[in-house]
């Protein structure tokens, strides 16, 4: 799975779950400040990403270091080889 596919899946999952404007889904968008997600939303964000990518994320310590969409794309890219099903 290449990075463009990771971005596409991530954006679609977040757009549907949080009724976000797709125009706001840019790599520099801050999850809390720009997209308006709160602590409860972030619990659900992890779950929708787990479902979208068929991986387990809840125990990953790196989650606390993700602040922007770009951080999320990068994080998912780093674990793709070990976790994400190859297409």
């Amino acid at each position: 799975m290449d990075i463009s596919r990771i971005i596409e899946i991530t954006n679609t999952a977040l757009e549907v779950e949080f009724e976000l404007d797709p125009k706001k889904l840019v790599p520099e968008a801050h999850i809390r400040d720009d997209l308006g997600l709160d602590s409860l939303d972030i619990v659900d964000m992890v779950i929708v990403l787990e479902k979208a990518f068929q991986i387990k994320l809840t125990n990953k310590k790196e989650l606390s270091t993700l602040f922007t969409l770009g951080d999320i794309y990068g994080f998912l890219e780093t674990i793709r080889d070990s976790n994400i099903d190859q297409e």
């Binding site: 949080f18 009724e19 409860l40 939303d41 619990v43 659900d44 992890v46 779950i47 787990e50 809840t58």
Partner: protein, 405 residues
Amino acid sequence: MHNVVITGVGAISVLGTDHESIAHALYNASCGIIADETRRSNGFRSVLTGAIPNFDASLHLNRKQRKSMPEFAQQAYVALMQAISQAQLPEELIKSEDCGIIFSNDSTAASAFALAEEKRLQGENTSLGSGHIFKIMNSTVSMNIGAMLGVKGASWTVSSACSGGLLAVSQAVDAIRLGRQNVMLCGGAQELGPEGVCAFDGLSAFSVNLDPKTASRPFDKLRDGLVPSGGAAALVLESEEHAKKRGAHILGRILGTGYSADGQDLVVPSHQGIALAMKRALKDAHLQAKDITEINAHATSTIVGDISEAINIYSVFGDACPKVMTLKSLTGHEFWMSGASQLVYATLMAQRGFTAGTPTFSEGDEHTKNLPVLQKTLSQAPKRMLCNAAGFGGSNACVIVGYHE
């Protein structure tokens, strides 16, 4: 002590989802009960249920807001927004410490069923998502709506089975009377799905009448049980001076409240319990029984419950009983919502100058035959109405409201 007035009402009901549709159904005695055959395959003894027409919460609440609210809480929000709109309450007043919220709710079973299924599927708690915890709590209505509207005063839920709707209103009244709040948002909500009432159906308490339009027949000799129903009802209450100062239109006045407990049985109402609540409400209102012009009875259409209420009413009013409204003939039993909804329905009638009749009543049994049950809709508004509610455990409530006084 401050006088308390009603300045707004709203409901999402089996009679309709706005003031006009509900008033139209009340005036025309249009029943909101259906036969839902899926209940039979779902193990139900009775297929009867109230049904809410055309409610779409997504028109009012976004996905995130709905995530933490069961459907009845969403209905409570919309009902409350109707009441707030009618009262023309400014947003800054709702968000101030002068405003509180108290709602009645006593179950959220469908949410618990959904959580149990999700837990079975997911196993790990971290995969359950954020919404369940806020949906499975009895305080889900006051919790969600209070936070959403920014209420800074009282914020809690009353759980007392089917007396809860009136007791939530009564607590709101007390908060205003004592000067602790100037404005109170109050009411009751009741889940409508099969999960919340399946165990109740198991007690054989529901009607099995084949015609849903004649199944709920309070005080009638042919009644064979209640019909489960639900939705949400909401009121805006204010101190009279507060309402007048901001130029609000006063829809009615809370003249008195009373409560009591049977202290006797889980399900069988006593022959004295709700009479005490009525007497206390009369005393609180500085009224005598002869001053009451209408009784808005609890009257659920159960065989035993209606007999008990009739005996209680006789003991307070004797042979001079005013006309008796039995609105559950049209709605079914709205349980935790019912007392509040009866006040909302009566207020809508008062605004439009009529009192709804009970077409399913034809003749009482030996205990109810002398009750002057109002059969046909009257072109006359309720004036000084006493409203009853009674719940499991023998919890009783009574509120007296004055209209056009």
